[in-house]
Symmetry: D2
Subunit: 433 residues, 4 copies
C-alpha cells in the first residue's frame, strides 16, 4: 500500500473496495465493509440487507449458484479481517445487499444521500500505466470497478462521518444502493419505505468526463433504459453429417444482432441499443442449439425507450423464426428519467466554490446515460420533496466501463467536502413537506 | 447398475466411461480406465500418454487451467476406485492422453485397430426417455459422449481381449486415440512411430444412421475438414454515454457469422461451414471489446475445404475491419480424406455375416462427415500397407452430437465379434510389405 | 379543373406544376412555366438557367440520356401551351435549370426570397382519397411533388407579384432554386454571384407537420447531410453451374445495407442514415456482377455527419472486399447547418399575426431534416447579411416524401401574404452592410 | 461481316441472331427469322407461336408493356429485311413465341430434336478481345446470348436442312423452344401435344466447359430448379425528418439476401441459391417502401430443391416481418431432373467419332445445372419413348451467363453433323411404342 493510502483512510477504503469488486446483488464483502465503517462512525439507525431494501422489488438477481460462489468468496475475504462480524454477512445471503444508515440530530428536515456500490463483470487492465495495477490494488475477482462505484461508496462513508461530527440539525440518511449497473437495485431501495420521510435527496456520480476540480451542481438528461435478455432455442446436429437437421441458434443470434443495431433512428430524440454480451453453441462441430443475448435499449424519453423495446422484440422474434428457432425475450426493469430541482442545484452551486480543490462549478450538464437513482429521485419528488444529482469531477484515463477506467483519488476528498457542505446548506431550507 | 451391466463387463465399462465423458486431451480418467483393462488382459507392450503419441504433433490442446481442472477431477474419480495406479495418471499430465497396446503372437502380419476415446463439450439430455438418464449413467461432467466414443473404447478393449485369448498369429496393436472431435489426435498418433510396421489397419465407428445388426465393410467419402478459431478485438465503451467510442466486437462477429454461412456453394462438390461456438462481450451496458468464434469448414475434397477456408478468412478479416476491430484466425489442423482398401473390405465382408447379431452387411457406404482416423489410414497406406474403416450399426435415438444420442448396447458385442473375426481373417493375408 | 382552380390563379399554377413534377436538374417545364409567370408580372432583371446559377458548382447532375428524356418531354408539354417561348427552354438544355428575378424599386436594402422547385423520383398515390388524383392533377410523369416544392414555386410567384404591385422600396430578388432534393442546387445558386449584394434573405417551406394557419417565424436545427453513392463490382457466373466462380455484388450490397443502418449512435447528437435506392444484378440465374446504393447520411452537426460518412465508407469498402468485389463510394456535396437571425425572425413574427388565415405563430421550431437553402443563408450571413427560414403551415395527409403527401391549397395565399408582408417590413430595416 | 460469315450461312444466321438477342417470351425477331429459314428449307407441317406451345402453360411471361416494347423493336428490325412476313410476327404477339417444324418422310419412327432460342437480360462485353464486338455482331439490344442459344437455334436449322436433304425415313420434328432461361417454356412445349407421338427425343447444348471437338453422348445430373420472386412492401417516410415512421423494405431485403445464401447445406446432396436481381426504394432521402428479389433455388433432387424453397420462404417471410413489412413470394415453375436413355446415348456415341471435327467422345457427363428440356424428355419417357441430352463442345472464353461468353463457330458444323447423323442412326431403331 502506498504512502497516500496509509495516510488517508478514504483512499485506503476505496482501494480495498476496488480490489474486491462485486457485481450486482453480490456486494457481500462490499456491504460488510461499509457496515464496518458505519459502525465505527456510529449511527442512530442501521438497516442492512433485506431491511435496507424491498427484496421482492429487486431485479436481475443472479441464480443461487452464482450468489453462493460470491458469498463464499466474501466469507473468505472477511475471514482474513480482524473483527468482522459474520452476522452481517449472514443478513445478505441470497443477494439482499445494501445498507441504510441514519443520523438523527434533532429538529430539521430529513436529507438523504444515495450512493451506489456495485461493480461490473469485466476484466481490469493489467499494465503499469493502469494505476490500480501499478499500486497493487487491481481487482482480484472476476469483475472490475469500472464506473467508480468504489469511490461512491467511499465518499458516502466520508460524508456520513463529516455529518456525524458536524452541527447538522435534522435527520440524515445515507443510502448505499446495490445493483445499479443492472438497473436492479434502484426500485428496491426506492420502495423500501426509507425514502418516505425524506425531504431532500442528493445522488452523485464521479467522472462522466468532468475533470478533477469540477463540480456539476445538477445533472439532467437521464436516458430511460431497459435491459433485455433474449434466448434462442434451436436444435443441435452434426455440422458435417447433418447440417440441415439442425435449427441453428447462432444464425438466429447473428441475424438479431445485426438488425438490433439497425433499428431506425427516431425523429423525436436520441436512442441507444447494445447487444453487450452474447454466447451460443457448444462446439465447433455441432450446430448450435442455444444462444443468448444480454442487451439493453435506451431513449431520451420513456416513449423512445419503449419504441426501441418494441422494435427489438420484433427483431428477436423474427430472427429466431427465420431459423426455425424459438425465442424468449425477458425485459428487465426500466429506469425512468428525472430532473434535478433548482433549489437543490442552487444549494450545491452555492457551497461548491468554497470547497478545497474545487476549481470550476457547472450549474447543469446532461448525463447522456442512464441511472436507476431516478427511482429514488422520483419517489422523493412524487412525495413533495426535492432531489438533485450531483457530478463530482475526476480525471479518468479510460472511459466509464472500460478496462482502463480509474478515478483520481484527489476527488474523494473534494466529493466528501462538497456533498457534506451541501447537506448542511440544505438543512437550512424549510422542510419540503 | 442394471442387470445387463452387471452381467456384461463390456456394458459396465461403456457405462462407466459414458458417465465420465472427457473432451479432447482431457481423457485422463478414460485413459487410466482403459489402461486398467489392458493390464487386466495382459499385453506384451503398453505405451501410455506421451509414449503413445507424438506430443509435439498434438493440435487444439486446451490451456493449462482447463487441463488442470479435468486432471484434478479425474484424480478424484480414480481415488474412489480400488487399485487404480496413480503413476498412469501422472504420465497423462499436461494433456498427453491415449494408449497403444501390443500383443506379439509369433510370425504373421502386424495388424492395427484404431478406436477414439474423447467426448464432446455439450450437455446431455436428462429425461426418462434418454436411456443413460433412466439407467443412472448419465454424464456427471460438463461434457457428453454424444458420438459413441465410449462404445469405441469399449469395443477396443473387447477386441483386445478376444485376440489375446485367440490363436491369432502375428502382431496386434490397439490404438486408443484421443482428441478426434477436435481433429487433434489423429496426426499425433499417426506420427508416433507405432504405425511404422503396421501392415493392415482397421478403424471403426458405431451408428452413422446404420441400425443395430448392420455392418458396413468399408466406409469412404470422408469430408476433409479444418477447424478455425476467430478472435475479434475491438474497444469497450459505455453503451449509453459513449456508444460511438466503442469498436464493437459483437457487431463484427454477427457480420462474420452471417457471411460465413453464406459462402457460395461450389460446383465441384459438397462443402460445410459451422460457427459452432460463439461468445462476445461482458455486460449488457458495455460495448463488446472482444468476441470469438470456434468454427470449422469441410469439403468433399481437400481443395473444396481449402476454398472454404480461404473464403472464411476473407469474411472474418473484413467483418472485423468493417467495425474497426482487429481479428485473428487460427486455422486448426486439417484431416485429409481416405479410401478403404478392397482387400480389407473383402475380409470384413467375408466374416461379418457369420457374427452373432449381424443381419445385414453393406459393402461400402459414404461417411459424409470427417474423421482424423484418415491420418492413420494414410500413414499405413503410404507405407505400402492397407487400411479400411468399418461401420458397426447401432440404433441411436438422437443424431450424432445431439443431447439424445445413445448407442444400443447390443451392438457392443457385435462390434467386438466382427472386428476380432476380421483381424483373424486378415492375419491370413500375406504381409503387405 | 375545379372551381377553386379556375378562380384562383395560384391554385391553377400549383396544380399545373404538380401535374408535371420534374426531379433535380430536370425542371425544364417547371422553369419555363415560372419564367412565363415572371414575364407576365414584369421584372427589371431576369436570369435564366446557366445565368441564374454557377453551372460548374452543380452536383448530382443526371447523365445526358436522362436529361434528354426529360427535356424532350418538357418540349412536348410546352408545345401544347400557347405562347411558350422555345428560347427559354433552350437555355436550360443540359440541366442548367432555375431562375432569378429582380425588382429594382429605388433606394433600400436588397432582400432575397429563395424557393425550391424540384420534385422527387417516386410514384404518387392514385386513389380517391388523394386530392390530386380526385381532382385530376395527379402527376403524369415518373416523379411526384411529394415535398411541396410545387407550392414553393407558386408562393414565390405570388410574392413576386405582390411586391411588384406594392410600394416596396429597395431591391427584391426571387431565387427559384433547382435540385434541392439531391443537395445539388444550393451551392450552385449560392455561388452564382446573385447573392453578393443581398442584405436580407428569407427561405421558406410548407408543412413540416405544422397545420394550415400556423407560421414558424424562424426554423433551425438543420441536419447536415451528405449523399453517397456506392457501387459494387464483382463478377458474374452461372448460378447453377458455377456459383463459386462469381464474385457476388448483391451479397456485398446486402452486407453493406445491414451494417450501414447499424452504424453506432453517437453520444454528441442525432444522426441519420438511409440506403434509399438499391439495385443489383441482372437475372435470377446469374450471380450479380454489379450492384449500387444511393444513400445519404445526416448529423445534427457537420462533425456528426462526417462521423457517419467515415463509418459508411468503412462499411462499404469492407462489405465489398468480404465478397471479393471492388467498390467505389462517391460522396455527394454536403449541406451545412444554419441558424435563423433574430432580427428577421422578429420581422416575420411581427407581421404574421395580421395576415388573413394565420391562427398561430411559433417563434422558432426545429427542422430535424436537411436543406441546401443553408448554402444561400450562409453565403448571405458570411457577407454580413442576415437570413431566416420561415415555415408556412399546411395540412398534409401523408408525410413528406410519401405517396400521399399533399398541400392544403389554402396555405398558398397565407404564404404569399406573410412573406410579402415580411419583405416589406424588412425593407424598413437599415441595410445590413 | 467477315469472310467466314459470308461463306457460311450457318455462321451468318448465328451472328444475325446473336446481334438481336431476345429474352424469354420476347423471341419475336428470333422466331420470325427461324420461320423464314424453315420456309426456305420447306417442311410438311409448321406450327408457329400459339400453335407450337400450350400458351396457358407458359410461365414467367413479362407484362404487356415489356412485351410490346420488344415486339415493336422486332417489327422495326424485320422491316429492314426483304421479304419478311408480317403475318408470322402477328402470331407471336402477346408472347407466344417458338415454332415446331415437321418433316414426314414415310414409314419409320418419330424423332424429335429440341433446341432453345432465348437470350439473357444482361449486357455483353464490348472490348476487342470479345469476338462478337471485334467482328461487329455484338448485341444491339438490352440483352445478350450469353448461353449459346443463338448457336442452338442455328444448329437446329442446320439439322433440319440436313435431314430434309437426306434419305431419312420416318417423321422428324424440330422443336424451337422459347423461354428456357426462366424455366418458362419447357412445360408449355411439352404439353403442346406435339410430343405425343415422338418415339425418340434428343436435346442439346453447346459448351458446358467441353472444348470444340468434344461430344458428350449423354448428359445427366440436371439440378431441379425453381425460380422465386419476393416482393417486400413497407412504408415510405422522409429519411431525415421521420426515419422511424418508415417501414423499410430495403432493410427487409438485405436481411433476406444475407439469410438466403446462408440456408444450411444439406447432407443429401448439392443445393444452390441465388438472389440474382434485386432492387428497392426510389431515392436516397426516402425510406424504401418497396423492394424485390428475383431469385432461384436448385437441388440435386427435387426433394433438395423443395428443402431450399421451404427455407427460402421462411427467410423471406420473417425478414419482412422483422422490419414490419409485408411480403409475397411467387414460386416459379420447377423443372424436374432427367436421365439420358442408354440406347440413344449409344447411337450418338456410335456416329460421333466419324463426324468431321470430332476429336473426343465422352459417353456421359454431368450437367450440374438446370434445364427445362427435362419437361420434354420426361413427356417422351413417360409415354414409353426414349430421350437423351447431347453436349456439343465449344471453346468459350467466358463462362456461361457472363459478359464474355462466346461460342467457337467451328462447333456449329460439328453439332449439325453429329446430330443429323444421330437422327439417321436412331431412325434405324424400332419404334419405341
Amino acid at each position: 500500500m502506498s504512502q497516500t493510502a496509509e495516510r488517508d483512510p478514504l483512499v485506503a477504503l476505496r482501494r480495498d473496495l476496488h480490489r474486491r469488486p462485486e457485481p450486482a446483488w453480490r456486494e457481500f464483502y462490499t456491504t460488510a465493509r461499509i457496515v464496518e465503517e458505519i459502525k465505527r462512525i456510529g449511527v442512530d439507525e442501521l438497516h442492512v440487507g433485506a431491511d435496507a431494501i424491498a427484496p421482492e422489488r429487486r431485479s436481475a438477481v443472479p441464480d443461487k449458484k452464482e450468489l453462493d460462489r460470491w458469498y463464499a468468496q466474501a466469507e473468505d475475504s472477511l475471514a482474513e479481517r480482524e473483527g468482522s462480524d459474520p452476522a452481517v454477512l449472514e443478513r445478505l445471503r441470497g443477494g439482499t445487499t445494501g445498507a441504510v444508515a441514519v443520523l438523527e440530530r434533532g429538529e430539521g428536515p430529513t436529507i438523504g444521500l444515495r450512493v451506489d456500490i456495485d461493480a461490473l463483470p469485466r476484466e481490469e487492465a493489467d499494465d503499469e500505466d493502469h494505476h490500480p495495477a501499478a499500486e497493487g490494488f487491481r481487482s482480484i475477482h472476476d469483475a472490475m470497478h469500472a464506473c467508480g462505484h468504489d469511490a461512491h461508496a467511499t465518499i458516502g462513508v466520508g460524508v456520513l462521518e463529516r455529518i456525524a461530527e458536524s452541527d447538522f440539525e435534522g435527520t440524515f440518511k445515507l443510502f448505499f444502493q446495490p445493483a445499479e449497473e443492472v438497473i436492479g437495485g434502484g426500485r428496491a431501495m426506492a420502495e423500501s419505505g426509507h425514502l418516505d420521510d425524506v425531504d431532500y435527496l442528493l445522488a452523485m456520480h464521479v467522472g462522466l468526463d468532468h475533470p478533477t476540480g469540477e463540480i456539476v451542481a445538477g445533472i439532467d438528461d437521464f436516458l430511460a433504459v431497459s435491459h433485455l435478455n433474449a434466448e434462442f432455442r434451436g436444435e443441435s446436429a452434426h455440422a458435417g453429417a447433418a447440417p440441415n437437421e439442425g435449427r441453428n441458434a447462432n444464425q438466429a443470434l447473428a441475424t438479431a444482432v445485426q438488425n438490433l443495431y439497425a433499428i431506425p433512428r427516431h425523429a423525436d430524440g436520441g436512442t441507444r441499443v447494445n447487444a453487450g454480451r452474447i454466447e451460443g453453441g457448444s462446439a465447433s462441430n455441432i450446430v448450435a442449439e442455444q444462444a443468448s443475448i444480454q442487451g439493453e435499449v435506451r431513449g431520451e424519453t420513456s416513449e423512445l425507450r419503449d419504441y426501441m423495446l418494441d422494435e427489438a422484440e420484433d427483431v428477436i422474434e423474427h430472427a429466431a423464426a427465420m431459423h426455425d428457432c424459438e425465442s424468449d425475450v425477458e425485459i428487465g426493469p426500466s429506469a425512468p428519467s428525472a430532473k434535478s430541482d433548482q433549489a437543490l442545484v442552487d444549494a450545491v452551486a452555492a457551497v461548491a466554490p468554497d470547497a478545497a480543490g474545487v476549481e470550476h462549478v457547472v450549474e447543469r450538464a446532461p448525463l447522456g446515460g442512464s441511472e436507476d437513482a431516478t427511482f429514488l429521485m422520483r419517489e422523493v419528488q412524487e412525495n413533495g420533496g426535492l432531489a438533485a444529482y450531483v457530478g463530482v469531477g475526476t480525471d479518468h484515463p479510460g472511459g466509464h466501463h472500460t478496462a482502463t477506467f480509474d478515478v483520481d483519488e484527489a476527488s474523494l476528498g473534494i466529493g466528501v467536502d462538497v456533498l457534506a457542505d451541501a447537506v448542511e446548506r440544505i438543512a437550512e431550507l424549510e422542510p419540503a413537506k
